[in-house]
Symmetry: C2
Subunit: 128 residues, 2 copies
């Protein structure tokens, strides 16, 4: 049976403003227990993503203060995502090719869920 992104994803719709303070955003990541945030522009359109990697590289290693930065200062512009009907093997390929661990799922441009490398591993466990 073929699995699609919508079968594997965790439902997730939280988006964050480009203008949000980077320290505040880090605290939200902590309390939500997630390692990423999906960022939207003024019109609610997905415009970027930030992960712990971005904080390590663009905040810690550069000795900057998260409290003095906005998400737009540290995010990766342009999100690699899929639609609910994308087959899971394609999602796996995307994750592998781009060396990313989170692939958001969009329907009509709206965030509906996210697939992480752990979700992909969960599927494979079931085949073992």
């Amino acid at each position: 049976m073929v699995l699609y992104a919508r079968d594997v994803m965790k439902a997730y719709t939280r988006t964050f403003s480009e203008k949000m303070n980077a320290l505040e955003a880090a605290k939200v990541m902590m309390s939500d227990g997630v390692g990423f945030l999906i960022i939207v522009d003024g019109s609610g359109k997905p415009s970027g993503i930030v992960t712990e990697w971005d904080y390590l590289h663009k905040v810690v290693a550069e000795q900057r203060e998260a409290s003095s930065l906005k998400l737009s200062d540290i995010m990766t512009a342009g999100v690699i995502g899929v639609e609910g009907k994308t087959p899971t093997d394609q999602v796996t390929e995307i994750m592998f090719k781009h060396s990313i661990r989170r692939v958001p799922v969009f329907e009509q441009g709206k965030l509906v869920g996210v697939i992480t490398s752990r979700d992909i591993i969960r599927i494979f466990r079931e085949y073992m």
Copy 2:
């Protein structure tokens, strides 16, 4: 055919002192292109691990300065690792159960390599 940790791992032997400065360590992670460091105690025995997650939670979100911290201040004490002869499905299970993405490989207590979630996904791609 059964794959073992030693077949799947990337050879990797770099270890870091508990006393190393956390900012310096962050810069090493950046230049090495890795998201983790394996930490050893005074006698060279593996004692901990640090990842971007630890920097986000224990440095950024707490508004501390990496330059004023040592790796022992932010590492996770006690490393979950495997031996080269551990079957890959066991490694996958460990990754999944503990929600970790890097599993170091030790032989006679010495670091010889590391397996990441991307390596696991690489194997599964080949089965698809």
